[in-house]
Amino acid sequence: MAKLDQGPINYKDMLPPIIAENYGQWQYHEIPRPGLLKHVAESGAELYSVRVGSPRLVSLDFVREICDIADTFCDGYLRFTSRNNVEFLVSDPTKVEPLIAELEAKGFPVGGTGAALGNIVHTQGWVHCHTPATDASGVVKAVMDDLFEYFGSMKLPSKLRVGLACCLNMCGAAHCSDLAIVGVHRTVPRINHEKIRKGTEIPSLVASCPTGAIRPDPKNKSVIVHEEKCMYCGNCYTMAPGMEIMDAKNDGCAILVGGKVSNARTNPSFSRMVIPFLPNNPPRWPEVTAAVRNIVETWIVNGRKGERLGEWIERIGWEKFFTLTGIPFSDKLIDDYIFSRETFRTSATFKY
């Protein structure tokens, strides 16, 4: 009989000795080179962490390969970061260079520290989810290939956190990233009355719609959608498989920028939509990669040292952001969902 409720793996069994010995005693850290962190403890102990990007969706061969590397260089310990990187923890400084050489030889990109592009936090997409408006891993691969130089170097004005969510459920917290790619639908759900009748609880379905677009249709034992109220969020589809919302011709990606979660200097902020729609053009999503590159490069040229993407935009003003990037402004970028009012300008202090 399997044991129930034994809880998470005990982290205490997972800590490398150098960490167990200096737990809570770290003094400071440095970044000797991109992808390498050096932490120094009160005891004088030095810990080196080599950070490498991973595609997040990995095979067991990959896991075993990083285990082999950790056995050789790190006494059998490693960790993962909240952005799906792998970190090799080395207590012997003479092993750092050989480890980096080995990682580079095996094709693991070393980087993601300091003023760099981090690994893109993303969701499942067409690989394994039921509501996506775009793929996840493929778009991320295309964007990371295109911006590869910024992962392994630290030449951005500040760190760049990119998130991708393949639908508005936003499993990947794209809503507070410096730059977010979000899968969006653009057409109302097509009702499959047969499926609705078969097993959908109508009141829950009606209640699931944030805009009140869904009305019960008792005569049909189904529902009606008021098209002019629907904002294609897909919430009803999550409640009821009969509300089919995927649309090959009209699904695509939106781009949002300027969010952050850290409190440093400026408050945490939401990302703001600057491009409402770009088409899905697999396998390389050229429109998306070009749009992302344009924004990142405009920030590199105009941002000040230490300034996050959103801090740069707030300083120069959003109106200037659209001028500098050449992104067209349209009514789609003016909020007409709830809480919209607080985004309308109520001062005469703008720029051109």
């Binding site: 997972m14 850290h29 067991l60 909240s82 690989v127 394994h128 507070c176």
Partner: protein, 397 residues
């Protein structure tokens, strides 16, 4: 099996970033479901839509969640994907591993699943990607035998996660790993048996840098802070200055509260302690010279979530400062959570995150009913309208 062409997938093996397609192909050598997954994805790239249906109920004995049912909508074409469920495994605090444990996970998953996995999912679980129904219970039994438990799915507590904290970060204001471990263990029932209006997430970050994005991604964010003044090491300040750092520009001018003064003659940094809002900026730029204060604890925030349904919320401050050092402090935290969950259970609608419930019924009512004292730290600024809900006991009969 006949060799099927996957030109778009093959294209995604080019380029310098590690390719998930290469990973799927590695798994495909040993596993026919992984091979079909690659072909299914190629089909999605041609059709520009996903080919996965809603999950039915699948699970293990004794639990209500932890496994997410997944079925393809084209099972005739891809029989190995007719059932392709996800199993969530509860990861260790801050995602530290020894290779023995990782290899054990690999062996079990090779036996029962597709050989594909996510390290980690967005919430922080290890995601075992793709297994058929009959393997669910045996896989769980094997994982359980190895000391590895399921994570959460459905309307339950989702697996909490935390930043690297005191294990390797000088900024940590409380022990995020221990708090996460202790609190997760306390709530195993809430985690494994969904019985709430909707999901609930905790994330623990050791300081306001918030490396787990808790403020954006968790219903309850526990963010480390301090109550006294930052600690400045003047010798280290002088060293930064000697090394050529422009302290005035990079540190003082960017302090949001203008709390820092740099004396260009003595090369000393001074802080007006009561002006500092503990944003972490100066500490990030000069980690050797500036440290959090001594009186450490955590700020508790509630209500964070992403867009669906009532738009995205960032968590709101509900307790500006709470000690987070020992079992008694955790007990105080858990006591507060009990009141909050009871209130949400009573008042929340189906599929309504707690932030939405609080927003719909009013923060004032929430605070009164869960017994949290209102303080100015809860608002950026007070309300601008006079539409107040006065309570019976405040009115003269």
């Amino acid at each position: 099996m006949t060799e099927k062409k996957t030109p778009q997938m093959d294209e995604l093996e080019n380029g310098k970033w590690p390719s998930f397609v290469t990973e799927i192909k590695k798994a495909a050598v040993k596993n026919p479901a992984a091979e079909e997954l690659l072909q299914l994805l190629e089909k999605s790239y041609e059709d520009k839509i996903g080919h996965w249906k809603h999950g039915g109920i699948v699970g293990v004995r004794g639990y209500g969640g932890g496994v997410i049912g997944r079925y393809t909508d084209v099972p005739e074409e891809f029989p190995h994907l007719a059932e392709f469920h996800t199993m969530r495994l509860s990861a260790p605090s801050a995602w530290f591993y020894n290779t023995k444990t990782l290899r054990r996970i690999c062996d079990i998953w090779e036996k029962h699943g597709s050989g594909l996995t996510n390290f980690h999912g967005s919430t922080g679980d290890i995601i075992m990607l793709g297994m058929n129904t009959e393997h669910i219970q045996p896989a769980f039994d094997d994982f359980s035998e190895a000391g590895i438990d399921l994570g959460g799915s459905g309307s339950c507590l989702r697996s909490p996660s935390c930043c690297v904290g005191p294990a390797r970060c000088q900024n940590a204001c409380y022990d995020t790993l221990e708090a996460c471990y202790n609190i997760t263990n306390e709530y195993q029932d809430e985690l494994h048996r969904p019985m709430w209006p909707y999901k609930f997430k905790f994330k623990f970050s050791g300081c306001a840098n918030d490396c787990t994005a808790s403020i954006a991604r968790s219903d309850c964010s526990v963010i480390g802070t301090w109550r006294d003044s930052i600690i400045i090491d003047q010798e280290a300040v002088k060293q930064y200055a000697a090394e050529g750092m422009n302290i005035q520009e990079r540190v003082c001018d960017k302090c949001p509260t203008r709390a820092l003064k740099f004396n260009h003659d003595t090369k000393e940094l001074a802080v007006i302690a009561e002006d500092c809002s503990r944003c972490m900026h100066c500490i990030n730029v000069m980690p050797k010279a500036v440290k959090p204060g001594k009186e450490k604890g955590a700020t508790i925030l509630l209500g964070g979530k992403s867009t669906i349904v009532q738009s995205a919320f960032m968590s709101w401050v509900i307790v500006p400062f709470m000690k987070m050092e020992n079992e008694d402090d955790y007990a105080e935290f858990k006591d507060m959570m009990a009141r909050i969950w009871e209130w949400w259970d009573e008042n929340g609608k189906t599929r309504e995150r707690i932030g939405e419930t609080v927003y719909r019924l009013g923060m004032g009512r929430f605070l009164r009913e869960v017994g949290l004292p209102p303080v100015p730290q809860m608002v950026f600024r007070p309300r601008a309208n006079p539409y107040v809900f006065w309570q019976k006991d405040e009115i003269i009969e």
